[in-house]
């Protein structure tokens, strides 16, 4: 699955224009605990979270997270988005809940 598929499935909005939508990932990790992101993710995973502070970007950058999806229509500040762009980290916002976002990404569909 790639980021274009994620945007489609989650009715998502890309917050970092210019990001590579063809970016592929094979695993998804959903958590609001950055401690868990650091402890339990592997490189290149998609992170789904409800946290929008700058530590999400710092954590993602350190842990080689592929991209971050913010749920419930949440949007980080312009400063955090700028930091993500500096780190070439794609950010997506979706109106869906974490549960619904996980279900939609996990459902077998023809676009994957």
């Amino acid at each position: 699955m790639n980021l274009r598929n994620v945007l489609d499935r989650l009715d998502g909005e890309l917050l970092t224009p210019g990001s590579d939508l063809g970016l592929e990932f094979t695993r998804v990790f959903a958590s609001d605990l950055m401690s868990d992101v650091l402890a339990f993710t592997g490189p290149g995973e998609l992170l789904i979270t409800g946290l929008v502070n700058g530590h999400v970007v710092s954590t993602a950058a350190v842990a080689d997270v592929a991209a971050v999806v913010f749920v419930q229509g949440k949007r980080p500040s312009a400063a955090v988005v700028g930091e993500a762009r500096d780190n070439r980290l794609p950010l997506i916002s979706t109106p869906l809940s974490t549960f619904e976002a996980c279900i939609r990404i996990g459902s077998p569909r023809s676009d994957a």
């Binding site: 609001d32 605990l33 950055m34 401690s35 868990d36 992101v37 650091l38 402890a39 490189p43 946290l51 502070n53 700058g54 530590h55 999400v56 710092s58 954590t59 950058a61 350190v62 842990a63 080689d64 780190n87």
Partner: protein
């Protein structure tokens, strides 16, 4: 010579500076990448360094991070002036935490930091003196995990 130091750097940390949390670890990560180290080694070192950096920012007054890269390994030593850890065995238990609500709201303080440093480092050593501070030493073999 095999053990010649090829890179050394030192960084300062200040307790409570949440806005700058992660800066040092990202600089270390960029440096290790520039030096051409294996991506998995770079990732493990960056994660362990970040956990240690967060610990200093969350719990200590100030700290120093010293990075040394040799042809054989990467060593990161983090010294802090802070409250220290009275019971290291307890602090190494996954899930044990003395974090405040503010730390948890930021997504940290889940009691995973020290165990995660140990998990990522090839060699890990912790020394602490209550009332004075804590030293973490972590080493990462450049050619992967030792057998």
């Amino acid at each position: 010579m095999e053990e010649d130091l090829c890179y050394r750097q030192e960084y300062s940390l200040k307790g409570g500076e949440f806005a700058r949390a992660g800066e040092v670890s990202r600089r270390i990560k960029d440096l290790l990448k520039e030096l051409g180290l294996d991506v998995q080694v770079v990732r493990r070192a960056a994660i362990a360094s970040f956990e240690a950096e967060m610990n200093v920012i969350m719990y200590a007054f100030q700290g120093t991070v010293r990075l040394a890269v040799t042809p054989a390994d990467v060593t990161i030593i983090v010294d802090d002036h802070g409250p220290g850890i009275p019971d290291i065995e307890l602090a190494m238990t996954e899930g044990y935490s003395t974090a405040t609500r503010e730390m948890r709201e930021l997504g940290f303080g889940a009691g995973m930091g020290l165990p995660n440093i140990k998990r990522n480092a090839d060699v890990f050593r912790i020394v602490s003196e209550p009332g004075r501070g804590t030293r973490l030493e972590m080493t990462f073999a450049r050619d992967g995990r030792p057998s």
